[in-house]
């Protein structure tokens, strides 16, 4: 399951904590609640009017028309007034909740970016997105509808009860005795229902995942003709989702009408007992009839109670999920203000007895100790799974070592401000993700302040001016979703220019040109060689020349550095490097 679960909290504590994160909501809440109370009073106007009409207006043989007229007009004025209160309350509520939820959304979004790569990758992207979209929407539905309804419903029950006791305590008790068992079992109903809703949500998630695969994997599915199997997998999830929805509906359809029956029982009891009380002179006809109207005020709150409780639960679940994000400590955290600001200039890095393992996994790096002096060119080589990429992630602080430490210019990486770190050390990953936009926008992502001239200059400096000229719209060429309008090699070129534009003091290339053609790659390597002179450069190498050109080669095997030194030295020694070298030579020349 998800690794993003926050502190265990009770429902109430969750709501309280959720609300505490959004001060916009609490501002002016007292006024909104006061308006809500006034609006609720409007609910008992009808029973009062009926009682007054029957008991006072119709007391004599002839109806007291002036009295009735006066009473009705008074009531009408009260109706208009309470409607106005309701309007004002609504507007305030919408403003407060929307403002607070926008804040919550944005905080959640930011926090997702602050989480470590490891945590981010352990989640489905879609699930992360829903934490700042759908989950927040659920909270808003509750705050603007369910939560409000709960307050109004409770108010309605309270006002009705007070009036009932004023009219006849015996009948008031009767009504409560009828409704009490229902109120007691409602939470149980709601638990069934929420269990069922949870199922629906999970099935819906499975379904979305299946649809996602059928869309993202469109090429593979077609290339291997597995449409029928994919369709089957889709159908299974669609049907499971439907079945879960139907089950929920069965529970709702059973529970919902029960209130009608209970209300009828209460009405019957009031009539049975009320008539006897009336005969004994303990209650007037008007009050007795007013009771029949007051009972209807019990129906709607109870009928919607399961839905309200459900909205409440959804909202709590929504809060839990977004709090789950916010509570998950960014295990690779920015020291922020307390952190060290590194001055610009040549950069040195040291690994001191660094070890790393994924949670619950075997060690992937053990006892790595190495110094990377300023201005040096380091090549990192090794077979797949030897720990090269982990080394790169530790160096750029995408992850923190489990043992040992990594230092930059003598400062532990964990104590360096992110703003400073990301400015000085930039990694170009193998898969250059591009945003949907133009080429220029994507390159500018490296340095938002860069002008078009600076971007063109960067492209020229890297020897990519020819490539740019070949593009139909030059810098304005749209790259498509994830950059998919460009080839994999072209995406790598953009990613490289983007990183170069960021002007770091240490550039780390993780097989960053693996999909680029050799001629372009050699040109690029040379250009980089020139422009990065004076900076520190670390390349995870996938070909011979990178290793040959490096000042020092670090050879990884089984999570350790097994050999190190310049190419010329290593190539003569028996060991892992000699083997790698031999296979490279054969790959290059054959």
């Amino acid at each position: 399951m998800s690794s993003l679960h926050g502190v265990e909290r009770s429902a109430l504590a969750t709501v309280r904590h959720g609300l505490s994160l959004t001060p916009e909501f609490r501002k002016g809440i007292a006024g909104t609640l006061a308006l809500a109370v006034l609006a609720t009073i409007g609910k008992v106007i009808v029973p009062i009017a009926v009682q007054q009409t029957i008991d006072t207006g119709l007391k004599g043989a002839v109806p007291d028309l002036p009295y009735i007229r006066g009473a009705v007009l008074l009531c009408a004025a009260a109706v208009v007034l309470t409607a106005l209160c309701a309007y004002l309350m609504n507007v305030r509520l919408y403003q407060a909740t929307e403002a607070s939820l926008a804040t919550l959304r944005t905080r959640g979004f930011r926090h997702v970016h602050d989480l470590s790569v490891l945590t981010q990758n352990s989640e489905r992207r879609g699930a992360l997105v829903s934490r700042v979209t759908g989950d927040v929407d659920q909270i808003s539905v509750f705050m603007q509808w369910g939560g409000l309804m709960i307050i109004i419903a409770l108010g309605q029950l309270l006002v009705a009860t007070v009036l009932m006791f004023v009219y006849s305590w015996q009948l008031a008790l009767t009504v409560w005795l009828c409704f009490l068992p229902l109120m007691i079992v409602l939470p149980r109903f709601q638990r069934w229902l929420s269990g069922a809703y949870t199922q629906v949500r999970e099935r819906a998630g499975d379904m979305l995942a299946a649809v996602g695969e059928s869309v993202v994997g469109a090429a593979v599915i077609r290339a291997h003709g597995s449409e029928a199997r994919t369709a089957e997998r889709l159908d299974v999830t669609i049907e499971a989702n439907k079945a879960a929805q139907a089950r929920t509906q069965r529970i709702v359809a059973t529970v919902f009408p029960v209130t009608e029956i209970v209300a009828a029982l209460a009405t019957t009891a009031v009539v049975l007992i009320g008539v006897r009380l009336g005969v004994a002179g303990d209650i007037t006809a008007g009050r007795l009839i007013a009771f029949l109207f007051l009972i209807t005020l019990f129906v709607s709150p109870l009928q919607t109670a399961t839905e309200m409780l459900n909205e409440a639960q959804n909202a709590i679940a929504g809060w839990r999920r977004i709090l789950g994000v916010l509570d998950t400590p960014p295990d690779v955290a920015d020291p922020g203000e307390d952190g060290v600001e590194l001055p610009r200039g040549p950069i040195s890095v040291s690994f001191e007895e660094v070890g790393f393992s994924y949670p619950g996994g075997a060690p992937v790096l053990t006892g790595v100790t190495v110094d990377i002096p300023p201005r040096s060119r380091i090549a990192v080589v090794g077979e797949t799974g030897s720990g090269k990429t982990t080394f790169a992630k530790l160096l750029t602080r995408l992850m923190d070592p489990v043992t040992g430490r990594v230092t930059v210019d003598g400062h532990d990486l964990r104590g360096v401000r992110f703003s400073s770190l990301r400015e000085r050390i930039v990694m170009v990953p193998q898969d250059g993700f591009l945003f949907d936009g133009t080429l220029e926008e994507n390159i500018r992502f490296g340095r938002p302040s860069a002008t078009s001239e600076e971007i063109l200059l960067a492209l020229t400096e890297l020897g990519l001016a020819d490539w740019l000229e070949g593009l139909p719209e030059g810098l304005a060429t749209p790259v498509g979703q994830r950059g998919e309008s460009l080839s994999a090699g072209e995406r790598q070129l953009v990613a490289l220019v983007r990183a170069y534009l960021a002007d770091p003091d240490l550039l780390l290339l993780d097989e960053a040109t693996s999909a680029v053609d050799p001629a372009t790659e050699v040109r690029l390597a040379r250009a980089l060689d020139g422009v990065t002179r004076g900076r520190t450069a670390v390349s995870i190498a996938h070909r011979l020349s990178t290793a040959e050109a490096a000042d020092e080669v670090l050879v990884f095997d089984g999570g350790r550095i097994v050999q190190r030194g310049p190419h010329a030295e290593l190539v003569g020694e028996p060991g892992v490097y000699a083997g790698l070298h031999a296979s490279w030579v054969s790959a290059a020349r054959s």
């Binding site: 009808v46 509906q249 009539v271 709607s300 053609d517 050799p518 790959a587």
Partner: protein
């Protein structure tokens, strides 16, 4: 303008409802019938209370003696009506839900079928997020009005029954009803007209916020490595705040109309009391009737809003339905013929005058190619020269705009559905793994035994790491499974192609993340095995090219030369520059080193 759109939208909305009713006649009939029972019984319950007031409460209290006969009747009436009403409510709720869910599931099946049917070119034009929401949110929105629809029909029945009952009891009080209830209906209509454009806008903004989050989280690594969290947060915040303002605009309209709709029936009850008192005075009605009508107005106040709920959902439903329809109505799906590509022997590939463009920019021009059965051909060319696009036409992932691709002399467009993938397999540059086991990812449902899976894994040099996985073939990989390295993923993708024993294997730079020595083993294995196939390989590495019988050199979407490597090398400059780039670089470096060494010697001398 807006009002015109809205009435048009309403008409369209009713058409959407019509579609659902025609598709689920039976369920709809039961739901509506149940709802009608509920509607009639609601009116009946008011009548029962009026009867009890007139015949039980008032006489008993006036006479000081309980009217026993009337008491029994009143109790039976109230309980009986309530039971019937409850049954109606249960039926209405359940079947309304069933209808809605069935329609949703139906749309989802249709839409996803269409996703599988439509050509890849169509997929390239549509963002993933949009396709996901077509199948989920849009399918849901399209049929959302079905939930309150039977209720709304029941309310109409309720209103008609109430109107008849009112007219029958007292025409003057009925007049009050005829003023109040149409007023509620008109108010509701105005409400929905004001609301729907605002709600639509909020919906759009919600989707946009979601898209920003999706893209930003997808690119999380880039955002992190370049330290662009602040800018991304600002981008998201702008969207979230726009959504907030749109939601508040919706809230203002709701906040105004909801209390109005609630107040109107209460004012109606007060009017009934006022008018009714006069009628009582003239002796036209009894107090029981007054109570009955007042109670009826109280009961009608809430359900009448169901009409509004349906109207409220309609604009969203129309948008959702149109989006779903747009997918379903897309033509231009690939046409298939009836030819088959049977045989066991390696396939021959021929490309004739092929051209292809993405939008306005042509990427391939007049490509002619002939790969005899059993041969291995390398497609070589600079980054962006059109190699991947060409490779995709070989397996008919895309159809050429001009010219044709023929396998064993058969134009791929004439091959029956599913026929091409039985003979040809492509391993793309970008690996995609399903959220499934290793076995599932290799077989993709192909009925093959584990031995064959292992054999394919061995050939792809993937057996080693797969057997080291905790669950072997049963280990889950993909988005939430064990994370594999790029090279491991590529090898699984290769095994996926090999297990199909293709007669033509197309490798689109499919081993770029695989270590050179592992790649060499794979290529050696492909050559040595008896698995007979023609191979087209997009490659940069000399070792790969060296395995090819022939090289096709592409530049700017044109084949500029083709022939064996040895012939191309001296005569084709572009090719030479490309494939010898590393060697030349190395030679230069060696020369440089030698120079430096000489200098050093001179110095030391």
């Amino acid at each position: 303008m807006a009002s015109k759109v809205t009435s048009a939208v309403m008409r369209q909305g009713f058409r959407v409802l019509g579609v659902a009713i025609r598709s689920e006649r039976g369920v709809f009939a039961v739901a509506v019938l149940s709802s009608a029972v509920y509607g009639v019984m609601t009116v009946a319950s008011a009548w029962a209370l009026g009867w009890a007031t007139q015949n039980l409460v008032l006489p008993s209290l006036a006479e000081g003696r309980v009217a026993d006969g009337a008491l029994t009747t009143a109790v039976l009436l109230i309980l009986g009506v309530a039971l019937l009403k409850a049954t109606g409510v249960a039926g209405r709720r359940y079947f309304a839900g069933v209808m809605q869910y069935r329609m949703q599931a139906r749309s989802r099946r249709e839409v996803t079928r269409q996703y599988l049917r439509l050509p890849l070119a169509w997929h390239h034009k549509h963002p993933t997020g949009q396709l996901l929401s077509n199948a989920s949110a849009d399918a849901e929105a399209a049929w959302a009005p079905l939930a309150p629809l039977p209720m709304a029909v029941g309310v109409v029945v309720m209103l008609v029954t109430a109107a008849v009952a009112l007219v029958a009891t007292d025409p003057v009080l009925a007049l009050v009803g005829f003023l109040i209830f149409p007023a509620i209906a008109v108010l509701n209509f105005v409400y929905q007209r004001r609301l729907s454009p605002l709600a639509t806008r909020a919906q759009q903004l919600r989707a946009e916020v979601s898209e920003v989050a999706h893209e930003s989280f997808d690119g999380a690594l880039v955002v992190k490595t370049l330290g662009r969290e602040d800018e991304e947060t600002a981008r998201f915040r702008a969207g979230a705040e726009e959504l907030r303002d749109a939601n508040i605009a919706v809230g203002r309209v709701r906040g105004l109309f909801d209390p109005l709709l609630e107040a109107l029936p209460i004012l109606g009850v007060l009017a009934v009391l006022l008018v009714g008192a006069g009628r009582l005075e003239s002796g036209a009605i009894t107090p029981g009737v007054l109570v009955q009508v007042a109670y009826l107005f109280t009961l009608l106040a809430f359900p009448i809003r169901a009409l509004g709920w349906v109207l409220a959902e309609l604009p969203r439903a129309v948008v959702g339905y149109e989006r779903v329809r747009a997918v379903l109505d897309t033509t231009g799906s690939m046409e298939y013929g009836s030819a088959t590509l049977t045989g066991e022997k390696p396939a021959g590939l021929r490309v004739q005058g092929l051209g292809y463009s993405y939008g306005d920019s042509a990427v391939l021009h007049e490509v002619d190619l002939d790969v005899p059965p059993g041969r291995t051909v390398a497609l070589v060319g600079p980054t962006g020269s059109g190699k991947s696009t060409l490779a995709q036409t070989f397996v008919r992932l895309v159809d050429p705009a001009r010219g044709a691709v023929l396998i064993d002399g058969v134009d791929l467009r004439e091959v029956a559905r599913g026929g091409v993938s039985e003979a040809v397999a492509l391993v793309p540059q970008q690996t995609f793994l399903f959220d499934d086991t290793v076995r599932g990812n290799v077989t993709l449902g192909l009925p093959v035994g584990d031995e064959e899976v292992w054999a394919a894994l061995r050939l792809a040099q993937a057996d080693g790491f797969v057997s080291a996985l905790p669950g072997g073939l049963d280990t889950r990989v993909g988005e939430r499974g064990t994370s594999l390295s790029g090279g491991q993923r590529q090898r699984l993708a290769l095994a996926r192609a090999l297990v199909r024993r293709p007669r033509l294997l197309v490798l689109d730079d499919a081993t770029s993340s695989v270590d050179p020595q592992v790649e060499a083993k794979i290529l050696q294995g492909l050559r040595d095995t008896a698995q007979a196939s023609t191979v087209v390989v997009v490659a940069y590495r000399m070792a790969t090219i060296a395995l090819a019988d022939e090289v096709v050199y592409l530049e700017h979407g044109r084949v500029t030369d083709q022939g064996p490597h040895e012939l191309l090398l001296p005569r084709c400059e572009g090719y030479r520059n490309l494939v010898t780039a590393y060697e030349r670089e190395e030679a230069e470096r060696e020369a440089l080193d030698a120079e430096e060494a000489e200098k050093e010697e001179e110095v030391s001398a």
